[in-house]
Amino acid sequence: MAEYLLAALILSGGLFTFIGSLGLVRMPDFYTRLHGPTKATTLGVGSLLIASMLHFSTRESGLSFHEVLVTLFLFITAPVSAHLLSKAALHLRLPSSVRLPRLVIETEQNDGQVNRP
């Protein structure tokens, strides 16, 4: 019974990891590319770490909790690095495949592109 649960968790972890990287390759511009890895890989690695926790809890005597450290660390740091990446992308004015809202374009024209680096 535990083996089936373990196999399902490992398979879903691998699948989510692959889908996240597929999104990294297939998406059209940087802002959409940011979605794939930062969401799907944390979900994939999260379920893989739960699978590892289950495996070592059933294999050895007593519960095994040290994988929680990696999970916690990844879940705290992934949004921080994604935020920094998007901030840097906005700072460098990376091209987006979607037009900016009308208000932003008008404001930029009135300001004479002050914020451009």
Partner: protein, 89 residues
């Protein structure tokens, strides 16, 4: 059962790492490459966890923890450099 799932997961994570390397090489901007490196270290953690289950040893967990910490520091440093032109101001 577990062996088949592990083999499939190894193949999937290996394919994911290959896709990341493709984006790392052909990324149009520097930020795409940073994002590819960020994904690459998360996938390396996944590969190490899978290897720990496959070899039935808890030894690889420390390596995964180290990669998680160093990868985050690297991503933050690279972003900070692009954002401010300096890392420690």
């Amino acid at each position: 059962m577990l062996k088949i799932a592990l083999a499939l997961a190894f193949a999937l994570v290996g394919g994911a790492i290959a896709l990341n390397l493709w984006r790392l090489i052909t990324g149009p901007s520097a930020l795409d490459r940073i994002l590819a490196l960020d994904t690459l270290y998360v996938n390396a953690i996944a590969l190490l966890v899978l290897l720990g289950i496959h070899l039935d040893s808890a030894l690889y967990f420390e390596a995964a923890l180290l990669i998680a910490m160093m990868g985050f520091v690297g991503t933050v440093a690279l972003c900070k450099y692009l954002l401010r032109g300096d890392i420690i101001e």
